[in-house]
Symmetry: C2
Subunit: 143 residues, 2 copies
DNA sequence: TCTTAAATATGATTTAAATCATATTTTAGA
DNA sequence: TCTAAAATATGATTTAAATCATATTTAAGA
């Protein structure tokens, strides 16, 4: 339902939310190690997130990735949408073909509520909120 | 979260629930076609389900797959557990590593409720109930 | 303006899931 | 007891996701 790539991306963005800002950029190798994701792999994901303007970056010496204040207001769903594409979470969790409330597959009503609830939460929760939770000790990195 | 293989398996078992019993066995090719899953593929899945006693089968002429009355009392979760293994749905939907209520990942509380609700429903819903829904027109095959 | 340190673009390789193929075993019926 | 029709066992191939590699571009600082 949600790929490892997306999970890695969330992890990395959260790390940036906690440790970076315009004045404190972080380069890939200093992100990949603490979040325990291979450097070349997370680099590719971060590049995609930067291209889609979900995170910020500058090249060259003293460069790196960081989250602007705007970036921190993004929600978790935005990240999943960029990495996995929009379809992934919109599909019925159990159905293979198109399936919706009007034309439900036999397990549609079993799975649909869970999916809708989850999606709403992912949309409503910002990176900033998650980072605050971690700072307050309510939850812990790494995911 | 739930593999295509499991979805195919659910589809096939539901088809058997609707169309088979001890006196009416169905062979793979007559299952694979209406549910629209490649014969060799669904055969392998059905064989695994039969080995794990979730469905019934007999070899030879007049043989085929079918659901006994006992088989029909199985729940959807049983199928997923056989095909995907137990771990799959027990894992936090978003976390990569071990993560639970005592040691939550930053998005644990976002995802966990949905997962628990879904699992409970899958466990509580029997194949028979799903088949009845289809017969009553509440839902439709194929999934 | 040259060098170096960073991200970026692009594509190759590996791995696991999905799919396909086939020889073997079992059983009904002639 | 022989034949044919079915599942079963086993493994090969394909495909998509995950992972790795590297040449190019950009920007800071000397």
């Amino acid at each position: 339902m949600i790929s490892n790539s997306s999970k890695y991306a969330i992890k990395a963005v959260l790390f940036l939310a906690i440790h970076s800002d315009e004045e404190h950029k972080i380069m890939v190798k200093d992100i990949s190690e603490p979040i325990n994701v291979p450097q070349a792999y997370i680099a590719k994901l971060l590049q995609e997130l930067a291209k889609q303007k979900l995170i910020s970056s500058t090249r060259g010496p003293k460069g790196g990735f960081y989250l602007s204040e705007e970036d921190k207001k993004r929600n978790v769903m935005d990240i999943v949408n960029v990495i996995d594409g929009e379809k992934r979470l919109n599909a019925c969790l159990l159905s293979l073909e198109r399936c919706n409330s009007d034309n439900p597959c036999p397990i549609h009503h079993l799975a649909n509520q869970s999916r809708v609830v989850l999606m709403k939460k992912l949309k409503k929760t910002t990176i900033n909120e998650l980072a605050l939770d971690v700072k307050k000790g309510k939850s812990k990195l790494p995911l």
